[in-house]
């Protein structure tokens, strides 16, 4: 194969790579289906804003996704999250609301965003913040950590918007 043929082959390969990349990549910034995705994929218990103020602990997922703020609830019993480690899903830029209830006094720490909230049996901890850092962050119980137990309650997953 001559030198020119080699260069030609490399150019073709690069072109194929670039075209494939452009085709494969999900559409540009215009179709923003981010909020929809968040509502569908968040396995953490979600409720609509109206129910937020009640101390209700049962889930009630609204599929018709009104523009009400969503609240992710984490229930802590005996130092661990009910139903195992929870997953709170968000897209970058979303306002995230997390309410943690616990049967014992505790301090809840959201890593990365570094937000600490106290919780007590009659006083849920409320986290309200803007998800402006992408990645996966742990939400931990400091009482469990100090006792040498696994402190992980939930993971906050922030995806690119």
């Amino acid at each position: 194969m001559s030198r020119n043929q080699r260069i030609g082959l490399v150019v073709v390969a690069v072109a194929v790579a670039v075209v494939a990349f452009v085709i494969a990549r999900p559409g540009g910034g215009e179709d923003d289906n981010g909020s929809e995705r968040a509502a569908q994929t968040a396995p953490a218990q979600t409720e609509t804003g109206a129910a937020e103020e009640t101390a209700e602990t049962q889930t009630e997922t609204e599929q018709s996704a009104p523009p009400e703020p969503e609240v992710s609830r984490i229930r802590v019993r005996g130092g661990t999250a009910v139903g195992g480690v929870q997953r709170v899903q968000a897209n970058k830029g979303d306002t995230v609301r997390i309410v943690v209830t616990s049967d014992a006094p505790d301090e809840i720490h959201l890593h990365g965003y570094d937000i600490y909230e106290d919780v007590a049996p009659e006083k849920p901890a409320r986290f309200v913040f803007r998800a402006d850092i992408e990645g996966i962050f742990e939400i931990e119980s400091h009482v469990a950590e100090d006792a040498g137990r696994d402190p992980l309650l939930a993971r906050l997953v922030v995806e690119p918007s």
Binding site: M1, R6, L9, V10, A13, V16, A17, A20, F21, A24, R25, P26, K92, H111, G112, Y113, D114, D132, I133, E134, G135, I136, F137, E138, E145, D150, P151, L152, R155, V157, V158, E159, P160
Partner: protein
């Protein structure tokens, strides 16, 4: 599950999206076959073409004052790690020792070695102490030190492979492996072993073959265009440092440990492992182990399995290459191509630890001011904070995939060049190359799969 080391990873990576995984996997195949078609028909990398840096710079960089300054920095940092580990707070994230060992030293020296050559050799505290002791001892005995023992040939790089495995086990298996005190004690034990081995076999011999971290960083520095030779810093053709790698016994296992430990670290976050680990662990608990020990045994099994898997896969590919003929033994072929796996090992490390280095590396700023975590503020930087948004998820994905694809191409190039060098018969060379290609595609696909499974 009991928190394992890496508890100081605050921001974990999102898995790469499916479309990017698919694109990258397709690219690996396209690139592979294009590379086979366009790469040079005669060996080109087997000669290094080393030249000293211009204008006497090559000599000045290795002059005695520079050498002593680097050694002193290395010994000082070593001392600081031990001191803060033993005396400082035992919260991993607030102690200088944990972040320095796992991030600055273990991860930071990788890009430094690739870009600047074997910098760790200049700062290596064990080498510095060993040389200083030898210098004093020579003075005291008027040059009548007994000659070191001959280094056994069969030992090769086995001590390094064992050392890196032990380090990976401390990081990924031991449940208190990020506890500063444990790190300080592990460092002291390792130091004692290193000094004994240096006394037996000579400082430089042990640094070259046995001292795990010297051997590890030296492997990556072989990708660098910069190399110190005969006390002079010079430059060489990029990649040409790897073909010169002597495949001493233990080199293939060392590479298997390097790739296998990153594989395990990645897979440990994937459903495949998080699904079966509790079962294995409860099996050992039923045998009477405590939950913590059972979990450690489980992770040790996982780490060992990952290393053996990587080793077995490489040997399998080599057995295939042998089957095409040419009269080589499997051992000879395994040794002949192992240098081409180094860029893949680098890609694994770079893709998996990019964000940890960029994010946790920032902690050095406040840890330098407050190494013990006791509220000190030596340089006024104790209140700085980590910017967790320093690199977005999308940028991380592109860098990760970029590292994997570039590592793949580099490995193919090196293997291709070696193929041309060892086979006289072009037809055999081409056929054996398909086997090497299969090995590379296997390792690269595994790397991409791990990225796509991260933390799911």
């Amino acid at each position: 599950m009991i928190p394992l080391a890496h508890g100081f990873v605050v921001r974990s990576d999102l898995p790469i999206p499916e479309w990017l995984f698919g694109w990258a996997a397709a690219m690996v195949l396209v690139v592979s076959f294009v590379a086979l078609a366009v790469l040079w028909p005669d060996p080109r990398l087997q000669e290094e073409g080393w030249r000293p840096l211009p204008r006497g710079l090559g000599h000045r960089l290795t002059s005695r004052p520079v050498e002593i300054a680097c050694a002193a920095i290395g010994v000082f940092l070593f001392g600081l790690v031990i001191y803060s580990g033993l005396r400082g707070t035992q919260t991993a994230t607030a102690n200088f020792a944990t972040t320095f060992i796992y991030v600055v030293f273990w991860l930071g020296l990788v890009p430094a070695s690739v870009l600047l050559g074997d910098v760790f050799k200049a700062f290596n505290p064990w080498r510095a102490v060993g040389r200083a002791v030898a210098w004093v001892a020579r003075g005291a005995t008027r040059g009548e030190l007994p000659a070191p023992l001959a280094y056994p040939r069969w030992l090769g790089r086995w001590p390094a492979a064992a050392g890196i495995f032990a380090f990976a086990a401390l990081e990924l298996v031991a449940s208190n492996g990020d506890r500063p005190e444990n790190l300080a004690i592990a460092t002291l034990i390792y130091s004692a072993l290193t000094f004994i081995a240096m006394a037996l076999y000579g400082v430089e011999t042990w640094i070259e073959r046995g001292e795990a971290f010297s051997v590890y960083f030296n492997l990556f520095s072989r990708l660098s265009p910069i190399e110190t030779r005969g006390g002079v810093v010079g430059y060489r053709r990029p990649l040409s440092g790897l073909p010169a790698l002597q495949a001493l016994p233990g080199t293939v296992p060392l590479l298997a440990v390097m790739i296998g430990s990153v594989t395990f670290d990645g897979a440990a976050e994937a459903p495949l492992w998080t699904g079966i680990a509790p079962d294995i662990s409860s099996f050992f608990q039923d045998l009477g182990l405590t939950p913590q020990t059972a979990l450690e045994v489980t992770f040790l099994i996982g780490l060992t399995a990952a290393v053996l898997l990587v080793y077995g896969f490489y040997r399998l590919g080599v057995a295939g290459a042998r089957s095409v003929g040419g009269g080589f033994t499997t051992g000879r072929l395994a040794a002949a191509f192992i240098h081409s796996i180094v860029p893949i090992a680098l890609a694994y490390v770079a893709a998996h630890y990019l964000t940890l280095l960029l994010i946790q590396g920032q902690a050095v700023s406040f840890l330098a001011s407050d190494p013990l975590g006791d509220g000190a503020n030596l340089f006024g930087t104790a209140d700085t904070q980590i910017d967790y948004g320093v690199i977005g998820a999308t940028a991380t994905w592109y860098w990760q995939v970029g590292f994997v694809v570039v590592g793949h191409v580099t490995a193919l190039t090196l293997a291709h060049d070696r193929n041309l060098a060892i086979y006289d018969n072009t037809r055999l060379a081409v056929r054996s190359q398909y086997w090497m290609l299969a090995i590379m595609v296997g390792f690269t696909s595994l790397a991409l799969w791990l990225l796509s499974q991260a933390n799911t």
